[in-house]
Subunit: 276 residues, 2 copies
């Protein structure tokens, strides 16, 4: 159940009409005028992974993010019970502004609502975690092919033999996404994504999948396999599925996540997060 | 003859006593108090490859450097007949400040003097070209192993199937140096050397030597072979042997280069050339 529920392969693939700003996208979603995946929505604006946890667990999870910044780059954090995240947008209500959510009790999926008003509690803390959409935009603008886009599928993701730094109940393997590239593109991609530490940053590995416990590139743990040509290297980035996977493993008594592919769209621009 | 004369494998290996500044090193060399290789001399100060050409050829060679900045990063350029390069040091006389030179006529080696006073001409233009010593210091400071240093030998260099951009008589293949690294170190090395575009900058290739025409890593064209372990990738940087090789191919009626390993030591610090 857990792996299936994290899978994104079943997402609807139709490209939504681009809304021009993060705010426009968020308001359309709030009014139920957009219910699908957010990929391609509000181009140039940062999208984020969502994790909402009870305050009793939030302290440990915050420490987990701080100790594992590559898979868990924390873009925004709410006060307990506060549905706003001013760091990411002025007009943002985390209870209504994602197209779809997943609600979990004791590790079991209990609801997939389009808003979480009825699930809201005064002790809930929201974590907005950086997402690869931001650096992928920069790679595309540099003319680098992203194979999963060419193949119109979901980026392949793999559980590695690399352990995250454990904090309290939160522990588990680093999950990585893989993009095959020719060597010169791989070098350029390392340079470009180094500029974006808030959205996973530079790759964590290149070229030797067996060194990080990946036995077969053709069998990803999440997403879809893509071809890797003889003159290409597989390049691996820390993936936002890591914190989701770690939360599921911890089986919190209550938590809310985004529905796969239905991310939080913010008012911040991807370019704001470039460090140089 | 040409390949042998470019070889650096025969350099004396004794480490000279470090002189504290580039100026101190240069003055000791000028007074014939230091005659060996310059590696390890004046740590932290930039060393450079030397090419001295008649003005008639210098214009083409300058254009060649500008069109091929990765193998030929131009750090300093003299006025015709002027033995100074103020951009690199105040007290610098290119005729006396290298431990040893090579003098060429029509592509043939005619002298290996410790100064070039008797060969000096009013039409000679000096090119000081960046050298990998600068970025290697930054890699070592980051804790990255450099295999050729571990093996106490010369970095392996390879002629590639990649052509430089030709200008006038100057043309020929890109020459690269190779350093094997574990993937995480390779990613870090790409980040670090990206900061130093004036001294070859980021690697030009990683992981697939056959893609750039290198058939056997165990048989370098210059320098010494080093072991590449199964969990490592070969990482390739554009090499300052490229301009030397290109000049030799052009067989100028007259030119002077540094003796292999006996570089120009400058007053500029490696850290000055970091772009961030």
């Amino acid at each position: 159940m857990q792996e299936q529920t994290l899978a994104t392969a079943s997402l609807r693939r139709e490209k939504p009409e681009a809304l021009s700003t993060g705010r426009a996208a968020r308001l359309a979603i709030r009014r139920n005028q957009h219910a699908g995946p957010t990929s391609g929505l509000a181009p140039g604006f940062v999208q984020a992974n969502l994790a909402i946890l009870p305050q009793a667990l939030a302290q440990d999870f915050l420490q987990f993010c701080q100790r594992n910044p590559k898979p868990c780059p924390l873009l925004g954090l709410s006060a307990p019970g506060d549905p706003r995240i001013p760091a990411l947008a002025d007009d943002l209500d985390i209870r209504t502004d994602l197209p779809r959510y997943r609600v979990w009790r004791d590790g079991a999926l209990v609801d997939e609502p389009s808003d979480i008003a009825k699930w809201w509690r005064d002790d809930l803390v929201t974590f907005a975690i950086g997402c690869s959409f931001s650096f992928e935009q920069a790679l595309l603008e540099a003319g680098i092919e992203l194979r999963h886009m060419t193949c119109d599928c979901t980026v392949p993701m793999y559980r590695t033999s690399v352990e995250t730094a454990a904090v309290g109940p939160f522990h588990g393997p680093l999950v990585v996404s893989m993009r095959p590239m020719k060597p010169a593109d791989a070098i350029r991609a390392i340079q470009i994504t180094t500029r974006f530490p808030s959205v996973h940053g530079a790759p964590v590995h290149i070229g030797k999948p067996e060194s990080i416990g990946i036995k077969d590139l053709a069998r990803p743990d999440w997403g879809d396999a893509v071809p890797v040509h003889d003159d290409e290297l597989p390049v691996f980035w820390a993936c936002g599925v890591t914190p989701q996977s770690v939360i599921m493993e911890a089986r919190p008594d209550f938590c809310i996540t985004h529905y796969p592919g239905a991310m939080l769209v913010t008012d911040r621009r991807n370019t704001e997060f470039a460090i140089m």
